[in-house]
């Protein structure tokens, strides 16, 4: 019987080989650096977890129903923060996204400026923004609204500008050729193309913001996070179980509803 043989592999160029080796060395160096300089206190972690396990884990799964009302109220506030914040962000993101999109008003220079603004906003974690706003407007839910609004603007602006860049420009050109002015082009050529996806992303962002706003209370910006920090410092794990249950239920319901709505829009 004839011996079966695999076809010869294509030759790789020397440059590619060298590049692969360099990347490999860099990755290995990164890992060596990471694992040699980080010091995890294994002994303490294990000892603590053994002594704490029965005090924490079973209690998390037996929520304290007595605080259900209070938790519900705080959760409602969290939803309000997320709603107001993401709506503000959706409005703020529109002009920025038109600036950042290459095929709209800004051209190359404007687009670069817009993209820089958006990525600068995105570089701030939500919680850091919340800290700044808590200092500025005091420890209340409105600081949370502002933090969510600014934080989401960065991400939504980026998504929106990508949507604008992907529209069918032939429609716009046809309108231009027919002598339509800028406003007409915007209303009849651009907006009908982008509205469904804009809405879809704004609703998706609301989902993300529910999760984000549930932790803002850790720095004093309102919502259910305030209760999380109290429950953990009082080691009240039954209450924590209730809070977790509330978060899981609300997030699941909103994810589900938003997925339904988005499927209808697009």
């Amino acid at each position: 019987m004839e011996k079966l043989q695999l076809p010869p592999k294509p030759e790789k160029s020397a440059l590619k080989k060298i590049r692969a080796v360099i990347i490999l060395i860099l990755v290995i160096a990164l890992y060596v650096w990471t694992f040699t300089s980080i010091n995890i206190d294994w002994g303490r972690a294990i000892e603590r977890s053994i002594s704490n396990f029965h005090r924490v884990v079973p209690k998390l799964f037996s929520p304290d129903w007595a605080v259900a009302g209070k938790v519900g109220e705080a959760m409602l506030e969290t939803i309000f923060i997320a709603f107001a914040g993401s709506l503000m962000a959706a409005i703020l993101a529109v002009p920025l996204s038109f600036l950042a999109a290459q095929n709209m008003m800004g051209g190359k220079v404007g687009s670069t400026i817009g993209k820089w603004i958006l990525s600068a906003i995105r570089a701030f974690p939500d919680l850091i923004l919340a800290i700044l706003f808590v200092v500025a407007v005091g420890p209340n839910a409105f600081a949370g609204v502002l933090a969510i609004a600014i934080g989401s603007t960065g991400m939504l602006g980026k998504m929106f500008s990508e949507i604008i860049e992907s529209i069918d420009m032939e429609v716009v050109q046809a309108m231009e050729a027919n002598g339509a002015n800028k406003i007409q082009i915007l209303f009849y050529g651009v907006i009908p193309q982008i509205t469904p996806e804009f809405l879809s992303y704004a609703i998706y962002r609301f989902e993300v913001d529910i999760r984000a706003s549930s932790i803002l209370g850790i720095v004093g910006a309102g919502g259910i996070g305030t209760m999380i920090i109290f429950a953990s410092s009082n080691r009240n794990w039954n209450e924590m179980g209730m809070i977790l249950l509330a978060i899981v239920i609300v997030v699941t319901v909103i994810d589900f509803a938003s997925a339904k709505i988005r499927r209808k829009i697009v």
């Binding site: 650096w33 995890i40 200092v135 409105f142």
Partner: protein, 269 residues
């Protein structure tokens, strides 16, 4: 001729009346909830919106100029933060492989198993990273370990979902050809699935690494290690110039890592 003209002149409404009514109602409902949320969230604010805006300027001024003399003190914990993100991303990337395969509809043909892993991952994703960190700090005590664990669990949920979606969109023909010529499950996965998803896999892992960097800088706020701990201390002492330095360092780190990771991902795809 005249009838044709009048037909063209008559402006047809762009959208049917029913849609218009629906959109109007939805618009007012959204506006109503928005107004209510704005009133609710500003309820316990002293001085209202106008007072806050005036206040903002004077308070923000306290943050400047940042005190760069503490940079060397921040450096170590910033590096620790990055290391936490690296370790967590690595562990999540390894653990995600079986989970993603199990929650991809086209590979896991055994329905109950698919639904079980899907539901588990969905539940996992609903819990915010910081809440996980709070619980793990309660369980393991203050330190780096609960932070890494929280990041791992959190990113596992995202990564497994994204990768299972990638797996679901692969070309099934090579897999069927493999199976037809007698390859077992592992051979099919290794020789026809892995080559198809390897670039996307790497790209998604880098993306999750970016998310982890952003998440890990704040983990210290609840005692889970990293640069957030310093930030928390400085804020508690009302030492705003120092806090501002920490914030600027975080900002710069996130920007740099995002830039590098973006370039790498562009080169991959």
């Amino acid at each position: 001729m005249t009838t044709k003209n009048t037909l063209a002149q008559k402006t047809m409404p762009l959208y049917p009346a029913k849609t218009k009514i629906q959109v109007t109602i939805i618009f007012f409902v959204v506006l109503g909830i928005y107004t209510y949320s704005m009133i609710k969230t500003q309820e316990d604010m002293v001085g209202g919106f106008g007072g806050a805006l005036g206040n903002m300027y004077t308070v923000i001024e306290k943050f400047f100029p940042p005190n760069f003399a503490i940079l060397p003190a921040i450096w170590d914990s910033m590096m620790q933060t990055i290391q936490m993100a690296i370790i967590a991303t690595t562990i999540a990337a390894i653990l995600t492989v079986p989970l993603a395969v199990l929650s991809a509809q086209n590979i896991t043909t055994f329905k109950p198993l698919y639904y079980l892993t899907r539901t588990l991952l969905n539940l996992l994703r609903t819990i915010p990273d910081l809440v996980l960190a709070v619980i793990f700090v309660g369980l393991f005590g203050i330190g780096v370990f609960p932070g890494i664990l929280a990041l791992t669990v959190f990113s596992l949920g995202i990564l497994a979902k994204l990768i299972s979606e990638t797996i679901e969109s692969v070309d099934m023909n090579p897999l069927e050809a493999m199976r037809a010529s007698g390859g077992n499950v592992f051979q099919v996965i290794w020789y026809s699935l892995v080559p198809q998803i390897a670039p996307q896999f790497t790209s998604l892992v880098l993306y999750v690494f970016e998310i982890n960097i952003r998440a890990s800088v704040v983990l210290g706020m609840v005692g889970a290690g990293g640069v957030g701990l310093i930030l928390n201390q400085q804020l508690k002492f009302y030492n705003y110039p120092n806090a501002m330095t920490v914030i600027i360092v975080i900002f710069a780190t996130v920007l740099i890592i995002e830039y590098v990771s973006n370039k790498l991902r562009e080169a991959l795809l």
